[in-house]
């Protein structure tokens, strides 16, 4: 089993999965794009990507009957990577266009950037920004392990995550003076607001490190 590294990229009809797929290939993984519950349950690792609206995404995931199998896999300890909207969906709730309940694996909420607070803030944030963590040891054993602090990653978003427990924060980013959580780490779950598959060679390094984590997980599982 450990020689295949079958990574399921969940397709819920939003956004461009092509680069996620290619990044997985470059990292030596064996990706598969699917919306099938059965594939998700057989996955050795799972990626929840996503661009678009929170409410629509939750509705589609429900319609495809993917929420329960996703939770099952995470609880089982299967390596999991959420990207952009795929990070936000893991939280308890979002204020995007009203109020929506998320998958609820991470306690906290998704808030909108507000130009009222900071007049120089352009929304959405579209572009490159740095990621860092005050505690340099925080990245040990994560996909950021070999990446230097304050490297640039590519972001596209209007909403940001606010986890209830700050010890889950893996990276922080400062946008127009607002410091927010740009990645989280909770046990087997890694999730990033930035797009590692659009962040150049540093992003590919991130995928390679994640692939290493998957290998280690299955080696220790026997």
């Amino acid at each position: 089993m450990s020689d295949t590294n079958a990574v399921v990229i969940i397709d819920y009809q939003l956004g461009n999965l092509f680069s996620v797929y290619q990044a997985c290939l470059h990292a030596g993984l064996h990706p598969m794009i699917t919306s099938e519950k059965r594939d998700l349950l057989n996955a050795q690792a799972v990626i929840l990507p996503g661009v678009g609206a929170f409410g629509d995404a939750m509705m589609t995931l429900k319609k495809l009957d993917l929420i329960e199998p996703l939770k099952t896999q995470v609880k089982k300890g299967v390596p999991f990577l959420g990207i952009c909207l795929g990070m936000q969906l893991l939280f308890t709730e979002s204020e995007e266009f009203g109020h929506y309940k998320g998958i609820g694996l991470i306690e906290g909420s998704i808030l909108r950037f507000s130009e009222k607070d900071r007049n120089s803030m352009k929304i959405p944030q579209i572009g490159w920004n740095t990621v860092y963590h005050p505690d340099p040891n925080k990245w040990d054993g994560t996909p950021l392990a070999t990446i230097e602090q304050n490297k640039f990653m590519y972001f596209v978003h209007s909403y940001y995550a606010k986890p209830e427990h700050s010890d889950l924060i893996l990276t922080q980013t400062n946008y127009a003076g607002l410091e927010y959580c740009s990645a989280i780490h909770k046990e087997n779950v890694i999730a990033t607001q930035f797009h590692p598959e659009k962040s150049g060679e540093i992003g590919i390094k991130f995928y390679r490190n994640w692939a290493k984590m998957i290998n280690e997980y299955y080696r220790s599982e026997g």
């Binding site: 461009n16 092509f18 661009v51 959405p124 572009g127 490159w128 659009k198 590919i204």
Partner: protein
């Protein structure tokens, strides 16, 4: 000038933050050739890719995104039917929809938007159009000064300042760069959020790659190498530009 996918790889490796494919003669070729180029490019290049030229329908957008692009850039179709911006940004998200504004300065100092790379007059005032496309849901604007494009006369700071004041979405400025100091001034003085360059890099690329036969077969390389009409443009590389900007306290990825 040569194979777009070779340019793409070269610029990716030299530190480009985003690639912009503009098919200026979209209607003259089969659309599928561009899709193939995108798909080939995306396999090796892990930065955002924007594709423009000849995008007129929701289906066009879907096909370009499916080929692997992250964003599309619309001009003519947006001017002909502004509601197209609204539909497209609702369907694909604002951050996927870039609107190109191509301007020509009038003798009275006003800037008007044109389509078809400055060939078609619209009579629409550029700053008003910038405000309007933001309202309609565009995520970014690519602003081109047709007067300056490819000339090496520097950016039109008056135009850039007017547009960055009018709209609060990111403005990518294009057209006119002679050297790195032009790029610095359009960021610092014009408040540009990003700068798109072509000429100042392409010629350097050609110089280094002109031995490649495939390249010379596909483009008018002799004309480019003679560089008669581009004498003001300084050849440089992305890496040099970025080092220069960083030395001048511009925060960027290097």
């Amino acid at each position: 000038m040569g194979r777009p996918e070779d340019f793409a790889k070269y610029y990716y490796e030299d530190g480009a933050d985003e690639l912009f494919f503009q098919d200026v003669v979209a209607s003259l070729y089969e659309r599928n050739s561009l899709h193939e180029i995108i798909t080939k490019t995306v396999k090796e290049i892990f930065i955002p890719i924007t594709v423009g030229g000849g995008i007129r329908t929701i289906t066009d957008i879907r096909n370009v995104l499916r080929a692997g692009a992250d964003k599309v850039c619309i001009n003519t179709a947006a001017i002909n039917n502004p509601d197209f911006i609204r539909q497209a940004s609702r369907m694909f998200g604002s951050s996927t929809i870039v609107v190109a504004i191509e301007t020509i300065r009038q003798t009275d100092g006003r800037y008007l938007a044109y389509t078809d790379n400055g060939r078609e007059y619209t009579g629409i005032e550029a700053t008003e159009w910038a405000e309007r496309v933001e309202e309609l849901g565009a995520g970014e604007i690519v602003l081109t000064s047709v007067d300056r494009d490819g000339t090496g006369d520097g950016f039109d700071l008056d135009l850039v300042t007017k547009i960055t004041r009018a709209a609060s979405i990111p403005i990518i400025v294009h057209g006119g760069a002679r050297d790195s100091s032009d790029i610095l001034s359009v960021i610092r003085d014009g408040n540009a959020d990003a700068v798109a360059v072509a000429s100042i890099l392409h010629y350097n690329y050609i110089k280094h790659h002109n031995s490649e036969k495939a390249c010379s077969e596909e483009g008018n390389v002799e004309f480019l190498l003679s560089r008669k009409s581009f004498s003001k443009i300084q050849n440089t590389t992305l890496h040099e530009i970025k080092e220069f900007l960083q030395l001048n306290d511009i925060s960027l990825r290097l």
